[in-house]
Symmetry: D2
Subunit: 302 residues, 4 copies
């Protein structure tokens, strides 16, 4: 994997036909859509990828096919988050065996654990990992907001970066401060709205869910941020906010973010919009709204 | 399974030698300890049983061996909580295949879901279950505190009871009120301290972690509550509080509850005290304290 | 004040005609209603009494008139909660000057403070208090859930009891455990539903909002609890739960509890239902519901 | 008051000699320090100004003396946050009577209220206000995070701006989006770290606590942000972060922010460091640290 990981790394959704079946053709179209949009890497099996809702067979099939489809054109990293150590290692080893580039670790997420317990967990799992790894802070799903100290310990153990999906910009800024003398340690925003700030202040990129839909927009915004072109940032950022306001906001449950992206990709004729249990895809009415919003966005976004 | 499930149903810890290996002999001793203590049923693979930290092979081995050891002397129910529908069904089917009596469902616990999503999830999973099922409210680990309405829907779909581990006694009282005209629907306290209140006001039993250590004490307290013997309740309740104050309170992390019980069982020479990742067993110093506290408790508890 | 404070001590609502004007006649009727119902004391200017919404003049008028009306028939304690030390002392001194019996201290509630800061605050305010004092734990309004250690410190400084309105029964039970060897230190439940448990396990009474409406019911439930008459407790407790379910549950805001009690008192023709800003009294529709519910309750409650 | 309010508006600390006595000379020095540092306005009696801890006499004395000292050189706004409507109006009227420019409203903060109740409260208080008003979102102290809809309602009723101290940058960005077509409605960051983002994306200023110490630094950072000078922003922002890391971080309680600023001002020989109850000023050890940190900062900050 080309280090440091930087730029736009979409948390790729997992195209499904039903709870057991990958949408193989959809995955192929999606991968080409993303690569032709200029993204710098792919993050498979994250929260947006519904990793924890999928059986192990399905996760492995996704990993294998993605590896074949990407064929090393860009780096691919894979989420190995699990509640069982054995489960995490199984996915890590499989990812290595099919030639992928790295793995992403979030804390085991059933039992609430402390910072000390997370550090000890890293000490036992890291030596068993066959690939480089990034850390993934996602307290909304894992319950623990990893401290800067825990990330520092992960770096000592070999971590090559951190993705922050806490939504807490002060934490993101603290990470940038903490590691400013280690420019190869990737600080990646998991909240796409923080992409410009992340780059302007010294971070490296964003795992942007919206890049599943509009990869080029996010790549352009990344480039404008690198170039400190404030006027261009303002224009592109407005478009990004529109995606957030329209596509991630239909209905009322937290799951609307995943449902919105999958539905929009289906409207774009890229892949099926099936969502794995415990979440259900949108019904006809919500799909109608997403279709209309995508028309609006397609007119505005270049 | 004899309905309604009632009385003392310990959330049985999973005796381990290491992260991959069941402490088979320990399991045997533990099962006999519990049955000879008079407990009314066993709950395997709950939070106390570290279900989510174990590989599927290990979970299945535990289920099979427990079934053989118990040999239908008392009912055994099994937690099938998982983030993937397929995973939950796999454990449910295996439990049925080895002759166990029921399963226990908690919400999928990675993605935060709504009450509506939980109800829809029940509608899809329940028809596939091969065994009777209870609901399990455990918001500290699953993030969702199931509403009384969600439990009512579960009952309509066939649930035979609910275990409440929310720690929220008003919720427990609401469940008792809601289902007071359905005496066969088991209301089980998951917070052992609420055992007397639960029984005095119309509930059915308790999934009491401390019953791993002192099964007879909890059975006696259950009986005193059924008999409304307030003086006896007071005496036994004081002893239960001592267990809580001493054994669940060594060290500072949430995991001290599981570590304390496993360590005490090891001190009692019943089974190994290994705890699965991401938690580690107590070190020498904490073990010394637990040993001393068990001496104190053994003198007091009959 | 007769020590220890025990039994039913209603958190008396403040009858108002408008934001500036006490409903003097209503106060008189309310005080007689409560005393003739057998309550053991009165708690003025608590959360239910809307203390913080009232001007200082109004608070003082309420204190003075209550003192005159009660005329030492039962003890009266007064909440002095304020964000400013001077404000708290002003109310305390005024309460002493008109012959009331004690004051009730909750933490200053704007700036979030720590347990240590609360202890230091007690050390400065207690020596200036002209009357005996109780502590008042109300984290939903004050943000700090006072630890058992903080209450212990208050007791060392002279506190004669504690009222727990945290809704956290484990905390209430911890207080009872902690002070079981000090039978003169009053442990008072602020959550009326916990009245029987409090008394059965060694506490002293309840500050029960519902006693504004049905003082005799709460006094009877207190007596049944003292006598350990479980059957009687069950019957009266069901009635108490009905009050909670019906009267405190109209509309959707937290303020419905205060609005419900005031509206019901108005329906009973005891006092006006005006509620001080930032809360507004019920409109016609909600009042209709309360009226109907009171008819139901009056048929059932003796 | 010159509209819109913009630029650096420090939340001025209240210099005290003890709990009852203003540090009059300190106030004079502080006001001159701030005005000569170039700040664009003053915000008295905010959270940093310990408004709620002060008696009404003291608040009024502060207001009067500040008005005399500033003598209309820059606009001065005054926090009127109180739990009682009468209290808020008393301060508002007094502020108008001594010639100040505006008031700042936060929600009544004892009883938890809903968005609807906050809107109704605004409808009753706004017509009684003698001065222009800004809204103040401070959920950490008031418990309610005012929705964008509530702020929109405030604007309809006449609000001239909003100060956001929620620490939630997404909320701040939502406010900027919502009111982007009303350039005279001031969007003011209450979290000083968000100053550059606020200005770059269309907001108007910051209520920056650190400007009590280093007014010129914040004014320079504001100007660099207006000029979109990213390199200059980076340099000055690093200095601002140092203030946060060093001065607001001594000790462990939330109050360390106020104590740190007051202690540093005392080290600068501007005013006394007394902090009103329930908070205590730093002891000798912490003061030593602040002194040392101020030496460091004075070397770096121009």
């Amino acid at each position: 994997m080309k280090l440091p990981l930087k730029g736009i790394v979409p948390p790729v959704i997992t195209p499904l036909i039903n709870n057991d079946t990958l949408d193989v053709k959809g995955l192929e179209k999606l991968v080409e859509h993303l690569i032709s949009g200029g993204v710098h890497g792919l993050f498979m099996l994250g929260t947006t990828g519904e990793a924890t809702s999928l059986s192990y067979e399905l996760r492995k099939e996704l990993i294998k096919r993605t590896s074949e489809l990407v064929a090393h054109r860009i780096p691919v990293v894979v989420g190995i988050t699990d509640t069982s150590l054995e489960g995490s290692l199984e996915i890590a080893e499989y990812s290595a065996s099919v030639g992928l580039d790295g793995v992403v670790i979030a804390p085991p997420y059933y039992l609430p654990i402390s910072q000390d317990e997370m550090k000890e967990y890293l000490e036992v799992i890291v030596p068993k990992l066959p690939l480089p790894f990034l850390m993934y802070d996602m307290p909304g799903c894992t319950k623990i907001h990893m401290s800067v100290g825990t990330i520092r310990r992960a770096k000592e153990l070999g971590a090559i970066g951190v993705k922050d999906s806490s939504g807490d910009i002060n934490y993101l800024y603290s990470l940038i401060q903490e590691f400013k003398d280690s420019p190869d340690f990737s600080i990646i925003a998991g909240t796409e709205l923080f992409l410009p700030e992340t780059i302007l202040y010294g971070g490296h990129g964003a795992v942007a869910g919206g890049a599943n839909l509009f990869p080029k927009l996010f790549v352009d915004l990344y480039n404008a941020s690198v170039e400190q072109d404030i006027e261009k940032i303002r224009v592109l950022r407005e478009q990004m906010i529109m995606i957030n306001d329209l596509i991630y906001n239909v209905g009322k449950h937290t799951s609307k973010y995943i449902k919105g992206i999958k539905c929009a990709l289906s409207v774009m004729d890229i892949c099926d919009d099936y969502v794995a249990w415990p979440i259900r895809r949108y019904g006809k009415e919500e799909r109608g709204k997403i279709k209309q919003y995508m028309d609006t966005l397609n007119e505005i976004i270049n």
